[in-house]
Subunit: 277 residues, 2 copies
DNA sequence: GCAGTTTGTACGCACAGCGTACGACCGCCG
DNA sequence: CGGCGGTCGTACGCTGTGCGTACAAACTGC
């Protein structure tokens, strides 16, 4: 193999205290996607850049563990892959606690309710009560959307701390998804300040045309914002003004209720985590 | 849980064409659970039975990949773990296709709707529209429940093929969860025959007291049953008789609609996959 | 029949990954 | 203050895991 990287550390897998085979195993597992839903071994080898025997060994291992299966020469993922995520939900009490609140919020607003967290420059849905299909993509728990163009992302970034915000703005290209998407770092910084001031965010059609969502922060006992609660609708169903007047109060109320269950009190001094984003 | 090794060979991991490090990496990842949500390195080593340096190498690798993070000496999973499951959903068209049908079913019945698949002796939720919290455990996509005590499991087993059914009955202890749980293999076999005959299943309080659910099969273009559609409620809200009269027709109609979208036609001769369960 | 393209597998070598062993760094208590 | 029990980091030499090359075998099309 010899990635030939004696240079100034291209920082690929080859490094001390790093288990190459684990990275490779994930590479194979994640190589399954909509374009390659039932690949052959050779296709996987091509996609991952690994040798055919290596992929074979990894596949056989994953098969043993129950994550892949093969029918003839074609391989596919098994539903067990979905179960891996349960370990995240199980280790974070807030997700289970939030569920009833999400249900109630969805009932009261008649719209989908979501809870999301920040992972890098993206937002990951960690709990969700769908009511109606409004986005072109099918959003489920585990789905990722860019942070800068969503109300949940704005909320999470707003309270991520100054260093994290600066780092985010420096490192993340703000892709334009619709004509309304904020793509200027300075503009986004201002938008975040506004969110911090008012205590919630509304984003109107910046990720997808006609998609409007509102979001409010969920805090843990230390006062740090650990998740964002959101209600999404299509612009046709509910004008942004009505969203602000009717939905936002419910949203803030619900987010506060979840925060309270997490041990937060309104008197808790706000804490910024920083360092991460 | 290690289903069917080819014979003697109890042999854990150590075998040709097997990547030990990958298995160990998963062991570390899955060691995070409700009892150990933010473990220390030493705790993980104890739980997995691996040496401390080994766990450290694996953790650092997982951290690089973005699946774990550490705050001081405590480690935790990141929401990225949830995203792994997306690769399963993305590779199985039926899940995306079913979503609108699930929403509509939940709307029409006023109860939670679920789609599930068989994985070993358990059933895995692969799509879900929650309406109300009825189970004591929080059911989400990726959750697992025993096949023998649920309507979805009954449906999936019923059409899994005779060999698979026999193997299931031989290998799986039918745990009693409530006084009503069927725990006798012969009884379960008869129940499955009944399900096959009538084309749907109702299970009343066999997994959890007061929990009733109905389920119907979803078929792919080959006619094989690939998933089960279910509607669940609490016995207090809806008597089993009314479930049969009102919900089952909707359920069967919806399951047929999904099957049709998957390319199945009522004229397709029924095919059994067998071999797996 | 024979090329072309696939997949499965044997095998010997190298280095990735292993665990032992040791040292640093806490906080606690005498 | 110093010893003690707990944590973690890491140096290091050895082993065997996991590596890719190379070849066999199966299937496909003409």
């Amino acid at each position: 193999m010899s990635t030939g990287d004696t240079g100034r550390e291209a920082e690929r897998g080859t490094e001390r205290d790093y288990v190459q085979s684990l990275e490779r195993g994930f590479a194979v597992l994640l190589a399954f996607d909509e374009e390659m839903s039932t690949p052959t071994l050779a296709e996987l080898a091509a996609k991952t850049g690994l040798s055919r025997p290596a992929v074979r060994r990894l596949l056989l291992t994953l098969q043993r563990l129950g994550y892949v299966a093969n029918r003839g020469t074609r391989w596919s993922l098994t539903p067990r892959v979905l179960t891996i995520g349960q370990h995240y939900s199980a280790t974070n009490a807030r997700i289970g606690l939030a569920q009833p609140h999400l249900l109630r919020l969805a009932e009261r607003t008649g719209e989908s309710a979501s809870l999301a967290e920040l992972d890098g420059a993206e937002v990951v849905y960690v709990a969700r009560v769908p009511v109606r299909r409004i986005m072109s993509i099918n959003v489920t728990v585990g789905s990722r959307v860019p942070a800068h163009a969503t109300s949940m992302g704005r909320v999470l970034l707003a309270w991520a701390g100054p260093a994290a915000i600066t780092r985010f703005l420096e490192e993340t290209p703000l892709h334009r998804h619709t004509p309304r998407t904020i793509t200027d770092p300075a503009d986004l910084r201002m938008a975040l300040a506004e969110v911090r001031e008012q205590g919630w965010a509304i984003v109107d059609g910046e990720l997808e045309e006609g998609l409007v969502s509102a979001s409010a922060p969920v805090r843990d006992r230390t006062g740090a914002v650990v998740a964002a609660l959101a209600s999404s609708t299509s612009a046709g169903r509910l004008a942004p003004e009505r969203l602000r007047e009717e939905t936002v109060p419910l949203l803030v109320e619900t987010a506060t209720a979840i925060s309270t269950e997490l041990g937060w009190s309104p008197r808790t001094p706000p804490v910024v985590r920083d360092g991460f984003f």
